[in-house]
């Protein structure tokens, strides 16, 4: 019996083509940070026993134009992105940045004391430090021998 088996070489070429197409698609979509449907700003949330840190990417927005509010356990980040066109008469070639008002709320695992919240921004990354109130922290209970 003669079994027909095409050599591996026959497969190498179509696979290479597929890989190349995949690379192209990745380049077109995957690598791009631009996800228009996603909420703005994208946030990361960090936790420790002492509190929560929220970081957000807000390129082009100075800290002064970000409006932060804390109500009980809800943190709200609000602001507005305006197109920064520095010349009166321009023609656009590409408009990938998105503009307009934005608002995001984050539910925190504890009620925050607004007085203790600290916010800073560096290179377009916003950082909000939300310490956990003392009353909310777990307390160690000493067991006294009878």
């Amino acid at each position: 019996m003669i079994r027909y088996s095409p050599g591996l070489e026959a497969w190498a070429e179509p696979l290479a083509t597929l890989r190349r197409i995949q690379d192209e698609i990745n380049r077109a979509f995957g690598d791009q940070r631009w996800t228009p449907s996603a909420e703005f700003p994208p946030i990361n949330i960090w936790r420790s026993p002492d509190g929560v840190v929220v970081t957000a990417e807000i390129p082009g927005i100075p800290l002064g134009s970000v409006d932060l509010t804390v109500h009980q356990n809800t943190l709200t980040i609000k602001g507005r992105r305006d197109p920064e066109v520095r010349e009166p008469e321009v023609s656009f070639h590409r408009r990938e940045r998105t503009y307009g008002p934005f608002s995001r709320s984050v539910a925190l695992p504890f009620a925050v004391d607004a007085e203790k919240v600290r916010a800073s921004a560096q290179n377009g990354v916003l950082r909000i430090d939300l310490p956990r109130p003392e009353a909310d922290k777990p307390r160690k209970i000493r067991i006294n021998p009878l």
């Binding site: 690598d31 390129p59 590409r94």
Partner: protein, 130 residues
């Protein structure tokens, strides 16, 4: 303005980064006036010192390394964005005065101003009568 002015550059396809960080294509606005071409690129997390802009012939390349910021003693529980590097190239259709390029990074947004090179004025040649 029939000329699109800028095309994304297709070079270096498939080349891998040596750093173990993702490389993102920064979101960019491009507009132009009669005098110059303007670019605004979003590079959140990138320090002004870590931005590299080169203009080689007509290919403009912008790279930036972001500083990974991890709050001390905290662990990440929810994430929507990643720190990484940025790279993007454009092929410029018009001749740009490379010496006059202005770049400014503010709040994670890079502004580039590329003044167009002025064409040499037409010269009239005087014909001498012999």
């Amino acid at each position: 303005m029939a000329d699109m002015g800028v095309q994304p550059h297709a070079g270096e396809r498939g080349a891998e980064s040596t750093r173990n960080a993702p490389v993102f294509i920064p979101v960019t606005d491009i507009y132009e006036t009669d005098q110059a071409l303007f670019l605004a690129l979003e590079l959140p997390g990138v320090d002004p010192a870590a931005v590299n802009i080169t203009l080689d012939k007509r290919v403009l390349t912008i790279t930036g390394h972001s500083v990974v910021q991890v709050p001390e003693g905290f662990s990440l529980t929810h994430h929507e964005y990643r720190d990484g590097d940025y790279e993007r190239s454009f092929t410029l259709a018009e001749s740009i005065d490379g010496e006059q390029i202005e770049a400014e990074l503010k709040d994670g947004l890079l502004h580039l101003k590329l003044p167009k090179a002025q064409p040499a004025p037409a010269k009239s040649i005087h014909v001498k009568a012999v």
